[in-house]
Symmetry: C3
Subunit: 473 residues, 3 copies
């Protein structure tokens, strides 16, 4: 029988391999990188949190409501998203507490998931919780977190410093004025580095419901007429300049596929005009998007922004949930991905262009050994992106290293990205990655495939050199 109140304690050897000899090596490797700063080159924390340093309001709206990793599995167990605060606006104390109770009462459904690992890490490491969440302990845990949140050392900037974050990337609309980023760089008391990321997805989808309005807004913020194709391209280039001026190092793209086909300029202009008239078909819009994605590569070759791809997700799979709660609430489902043929036109043009960086992420693991590692193992521009979203999990990360390393080595991988909007989970996510890499490297050492001095160097590279090089930091 489980004890009524089980202890929550983070074991120093957590996630390290079970074999005693391998674990001993892994411990040494992890210890060598455990305290290094956090470089987070791709994520979704709002810059305004740090610019304004507004205290977090309550445990639920910090740890639960915005985190679809947490909510989706509760939904799968019959919990309404509204009961977790989703789509409810600011929460009343009782709503917040009730949602938190629901999470804790379902603690068992998270067994074996990284969500539970991250959540427990946050509770223990950041908020000093010492009991395992459960229906019985929910209120005590809630109270402890709430009591922390009113203290100054739990405000965003204090946590940012405590987490040891030296670079934090946000994800932003091309029309964003990046005022929060500007406020941070203009603030002499701020010593961190928060960089925007150019995410133009909707501007490349000419059949999207908001496309024409988006392009009008793009014209307004750039001061460039987007009435014709040349103006549209110029406006995008203008916004990329704006982003670079505010510290951006990369662009991010997520479309149903990553097919690239370079069109003749006249054909691209023709399709663009159809789109502006609202007369473009879905097929034509896809052709235009595939051309524009190659254009994004062309711009990256010219302006140096790293291009990252996060494809292969069917967004808002459950239409009623989307209609009620909007996007990003947990009903996105992966599909199979094809990269070899899809990226061939882009790579034949730009694959060996000086300074071009293309980071390939996937939630379809089958492409790791079949396509991504072979591509990253030949093209100087291609990097194998770290396991992302559903794959940012201990065993998936091990499979990733197992699938990618033998063809691409370590040095053509991207380094870890947390891709999170759950600010407080950032240290646990990066530490998880370091532990797993230490374990993987320890396995190589134990099997005499790598000397320990090299493993130590590689562990360090994976945390410092490799993300800095990939993202040109």
């Amino acid at each position: 029988m489980p004890p009524a109140t089980a202890v929550l304690q983070l074991h120093p050897d957590r996630l390290l391999p079970a074999d005693p000899e391998v674990r001993a090596i892994a411990r040494r490797l992890h210890a060598s990188v455990a305290d290094l700063p956090v470089v987070s080159p791709h994520g979704h924390v709002p810059a305004a949190w740090l610019a304004d340093d507004t205290p977090f309001v309550d445990p639920t709206s910090l740890l639960v409501t915005p985190d679809h990793y947490v909510n989706r599995l509760l939904h799968a167990h019959g919990v309404e998203l509204s009961a977790l605060g989703v789509g409810q606006g600011p929460l009343e104390e009782e709503q917040s507490r009730a949602a938190f109770r629901t999470v804790c009462a379902h603690w068992d459904v998270f067994r074996g998931t990284p969500v539970r690992y991250w959540f427990e890490s946050q509770l223990a490491d950041i908020f000093g919780v010492e009991v395992r969440p459960s229906a019985a302990t929910a209120d005590a845990v809630y109270d402890q977190v709430a009591a922390c949140l009113v203290r100054p050392e739990f405000r965003p900037r204090a946590l940012h410093d405590r987490f040891g974050i030296t670079v934090l990337a946000t994800t932003d609309d091309p029309c964003d004025d990046l005022a929060a980023h500007r406020r941070l760089t203009d603030d002499p008391s701020w010593t961190g580095r928060v960089v925007p990321t150019f995410r133009p997805d909707r501007y490349l989808e000419a059949a999207g419901p908001t496309w024409n309005a988006d392009l009008d807004r793009l014209a307004a913020v750039s001061g460039v007429d987007t009435g014709d194709y040349a103006g549209f391209i110029e406006a995008l280039e203008d916004r990329r300049r704006h982003f670079r001026a505010h510290g951006a190092v990369s662009t991010d793209h997520s479309h149903p596929d990553v097919r690239t086909d370079v069109l003749e300029p006249a054909e691209a202009a023709r399709l663009f005009t159809l789109g502006r008239r609202g007369e473009i078909t879905a097929e034509e819009a896809t052709a235009l998007r595939r051309h524009l994605l190659a254009e994004m590569a062309r711009m990256s070759v010219e302006d140096g922004l790293v291009m990252t791809l996060h494809p292969g997700i069917r967004r808002n799979h459950h239409t009623p949930t989307f209609e009620r709660y909007g996007a990003d609430v947990g009903s996105d489902i992966p599909v199979a991905l094809e990269l070899t043929d899809a990226l061939r036109p882009l790579l034949s043009r730009y694959g060996t262009a000086a300074g071009f960086h293309l980071v390939l992420f996937t939630v379809d693991e089958t492409v790791f050994s079949r396509e991504i590692a072979p591509l990253a193992g030949f093209y100087p521009s291609v990097f194998a992106g770290a396991p992302w979203w559903f794959l940012d999990a201990p065993e998936a990360i091990r499979r990733y290293r197992g699938a990618v390393t033998e063809s691409a080595g370590f040095a053509k991988t991207s380094g870890f990205i947390d891709d999170t909007r759950a600010f407080c989970s950032i240290p646990a996510r990066h530490d998880m990655s370091r532990r797993l890499d230490a374990g993987y490297l320890a396995g190589l050492v134990a099997e005499h495939r790598l000397d320990e001095d090299e493993a130590l160097e590689t562990a360090h590279d994976l945390v410092v050199t490799i993300p800095e090089r990939t993202f040109k930091l």
Copy 2:
């Protein structure tokens, strides 16, 4: 050199992880569930065996002839299926003994396969065999099994009780009168539970060679005219009522794909009429089947029968074998599967319907982490089916837990199903699953990702709570 007569002995630690510390944990976990009853919510044992309690005739027709897992690999080594009794009707003693000798003489070809594991478990545990099968020992093994089979404690009901089976599901044609099931429930001396499963595949394939005859039979047994679409639907609903009245808890479906597309009623009726006239094209029949599969979901929402899908198999891949021996003799080969888009229409309609259960099985492992776990981790209705057929094997089961758990946890998996027509293999199959789950959970404990009290609870849930909940037992 191997000893002339090697010993057959089931090691108490078989299938548990090799690392001593992890094995010790796994032993404790396995011990806690090893003696729990067997719940078998999906399989192919005929109900008549238990209703009639007829003694099994001979070792070959019990253990070899009906088991395509055994026969296919022997066929791959050049053994004719006829030499194993397939398609031969009742076997003469010499035929039976010769077939058994062939199996034993090829014992080495089964090394590393679960077939060998199950077969040896049966020989040792049920029939007390203590020598490893080989050409030299074949007759002795045969004689020992044959000597058992004439004893009353080896009749079907006695074995059923000895195996500790509390629920056993059969798989049945919608027109089946379920008389054997009825005889069992009407028999006061019978204390088990044998439930039918509604398997309407052929009734949904309007271009199938027997479809019109099947629908005529359906009309006859249901008393509902199947001359038009409405009558057909009503007849299916009638048979589902009949199945539920005989204890059915689920329906099962196996088609080339799981695409669902809801047609307008008039269009469905039009296609149905074409089918009844024998004028439907293959393409139209596929459209109708995809609609009917969604109809099956609609009926499940209404009548509560759990819907299970077993797709992605190209049946009877080798035409000459099919022509000579018929179906289910080992020449079915898997193909790649797509679920995310295919099930979207069904799930957008019924994915959050109260009480709806949809269990997704696959023999294409790539969908476990990419599609099934994300679907089961969002939709309350979706459950990740246990590894099935070619994947019901130690390393495939480990890969399954590794691929599914991190996105869907344990509690959105189906629990083990044996899916077997090899009655005597049932205990070994369930025990194999328990051992592997114990090993997987022990790994989580050893890596400090789960406390042992939780692992114990989860091991129990996987054997008891989870299958009962998934299949509404």
Copy 3:
């Protein structure tokens, strides 16, 4: 800090499982096969090297320039292929040394790859190098290898004997006169066995740029008019006879897909004629190739040559590299593969034909458990080819055994093939395979799924019996 000059030493337990108990078993298994001869039934070493026994010229043109496994990853790190000697013709001493320095200076990028494992094995085992390659040690390593190459015991035949090679297959154009093979068999001082392999890819692709010229050459060497379809088939059969007369045991095929469709003779003839007129479309050429691939199976049934398939590679993915350096320089990238439907026509015709052997290789690992193992586990003719190219690597090989064994056992796998043009890597590649199989078998023993006497027998079979049986040696 790594020592300035790290030691290079091959640990006797390299690649064996880390767990002490499993490793002890693996050691025994490996020891039992470590010194067995090397059977290499598929590869790319030129027969002329052995026929002529010309000394190797310099370290780079032996170990670097021809090995796209080495070069591709350096290219991915920004090294021009020309700087590694690719496309440069015979190298000057300074070019050779500079290229070798580049390799050594990038030694860290190979960490975790099999390329590094093989390269280090060669340096240590064959050339006696005792320092880890690096910028600092590059010249010393180069000098040591160069000093070896001038000695008689490092000429091709001496190395061939030292490597213990008893069978070595080359890969050859159907028009090749096989003079080098003939010189070897005619040489009384030569005791080895070098067999050609019939590789007709380009002759089956009627839309290929050289097809008509190839067929003219085929007519010239065979003395059969290839102006019509019947003559073409007869000419191919003639060349197969020629190959068999020179010791060939197999044919090899690598096309974009493995679809087979048997055409009516008249239709095949019609497409052939279009091709001969230069009027065939890409689609028609594909239809003809799919027919011709089935014809190759028909010929194999008749003449007994083992048919091996190496599909699923997009050749020369980076067009500019192909235009500058030609084929086989490292820019081939895998794509997803489908076998179940593609091979059905072929297998329904020839799948159970007496003596027919079809070996299926893949660089898309998803087909191992889904398609290849089920096919090899039913069809007597089908063998699961060893992991190849990107998958000929420790963890991929483990995944292969894990994916294939449970459905096909060991005895329906092909045995190891090295598929290499890197002559000196052959012993290390075969030893790697033996170590990994020993480790896999040791895991089965440690989990009590196999007795050790059986594991010993299986380890031996995998090295001796199985490749000899698969390739009819």
